[in-house]
Point group: C2
């Protein structure tokens, strides 16, 4: 039987996984996905992902390369996998590709998103999908200022958790944005005292939320690659600025130090989403 | 010590509860809330909710009346309860009220929302908060047409699951809307292939979702009161129209029949949200 190569776009809720990578008998996304592919095709596949997301980290568009002996085409494989996979994984797209496809080597950029909720009363529907920062509102303008010096090509050693030897700690961050929004998950589920307006073209009325109504901070980071824990370390460092412990100029000093101990703590995993992976060619 | 009366606005994720009402040793919202109030005040409270939501049903703004002997004021009680309560319940507001406050008798209207996702690939982050209708897209225009005859003062016996004797099955439905939207939970968590634009005043780009992008249907129902399972039976009946089993005029016949067996099936609980309760006075 022909061995085919597929590119899968995969979404998962990372809450109940020990991350992407297979680890013995632990529940991981790779183990679930490979088991589903084996059930669908009758053959054991080899899979490789663009990003080895950690325990608790989510994906909207993880990119997975699959090599497996099968007669199934991409469309049939998509439907078969979604029928077999558990509810917290979904395959969003399957494309058959050339045998030379490599989800790590072919990456041109990755986009991550990180959500912080800094309102006082927790949002029960988003509790698995954000960092609830309880010590009062963060200063977004200061974090925006602090983020500027991190954009560009730099040695990001200060933002890499050790234990992951890499050839180089130089990366190019093309985007690092920080925005306060009211239009986050709970706003969609709606206000408790007033009514949001639904309907074609309707926008949610931010003022109708209980409380201040703009309690969400969205970080987005795009780069040609990220070091281990780099996004969570960048967010944790910016939060130190946002809470007033350090001035916005501090991040530039941290970068220059090339020393993990100089940066802020690692932000918790449940706020992090791998949004998409852009491939070259 | 003075016995005080408070009105609480409570949100909960119903997934892991056997509904609102205390039932022996089962995990219910009332049992968790009463236990938290007892821990905070040192006294056993009496609580009563405007709506006895079923197992799996969510609330954004359940209205709860509490009578308890305490020296704590509303603000202190709010903070104490949120510190004690489990992560899937949050008290959004506490107001001290007169001893005559009654969360059932004082209701002037309730608003419920029901979410259906009818896209082909499941949305992993919303799986606990919607009915994933897998048999293809529903005809929203037909459901909108069918909903019209249900608005107003009618005998809703056909939409009441039996086993709940009530004095009267006549209710006044002031609103029953059906809308298709793209701006639902997963859209907020974002597209996998394109980027949503965040930032002050930014609106999410509906076209940037994977797939058709408008795979969400939002039902909203407001009435002076609802019979047992009434919202879920209304939704289940409208879905029969939306999938083409019956014409839009059918709902009027169902209403006139005053017979539960004539209506559609009960929609599953996880799509239902008690949005808010409006009180008289």
């Amino acid at each position: 039987m022909t061995v085919r190569t597929f590119k899968l776009t995969v979404a998962y809720d990372g809450t109940e996984f020990f991350g992407w990578q297979r680890q013995g008998s632990r529940r991981t996304v790779q183990a679930e996905l490979e088991s589903a592919i084996e059930q669908a095709t009758g053959h054991r596949p080899r899979t490789l992902a663009s990003s080895r997301t950690d325990a608790g980290v989510h994906a909207l568009g993880q990119c997975v390369g699959v090599r497996v002996a099968t007669r199934l085409n991409a469309e049939v494989l998509l439907r078969a996998l979604n029928a077999i996979l558990p509810q917290d994984i979904a395959v969003r797209e399957v494309v058959e590709t050339g045998a030379d496809f490599h989800p790590l080597r072919n990456v041109s950029s990755k986009l991550y998103r990180y959500l912080i909720f800094d309102g006082s009363v927790r949002e029960v529907f988003a509790r698995r999908y954000c960092w609830h920062f309880r010590q009062g509102p963060l200063d977004v303008e200061a974090m925006q200022e602090a983020a500027k010096s991190l954009v560009g090509t730099h040695d990001f050693r200060s933002f890499s958790t050790s234990g992951s030897p890499r050839k180089s700690t130089i990366r190019t961050v093309s985007q690092l944005s920080v925005c306060r929004v009211g239009l986050a998950p709970p706003a969609v589920f709606g206000p408790t005292t007033n009514r949001a307006t639904f309907g074609p073209g309707a926008k949610f009325d931010e003022s109708s939320n209980v409380g201040p109504g703009r309690d969400w901070i969205v970080f987005e980071a795009a780069a040609d690659g990220f070091l281990y824990n780099m996004v969570r370390n960048l967010v944790g460092t910016l939060v130190e600025v946002g809470r007033g412990v350090h001035p916005p100029t501090w991040t530039s000093d941290v970068l220059d130090a090339r020393d993990r101990r100089r940066a802020g703590p690692t932000a918790p995993p449940q706020g992090l989403f791998l949004v998409n992976v852009r491939l070259s060619q």
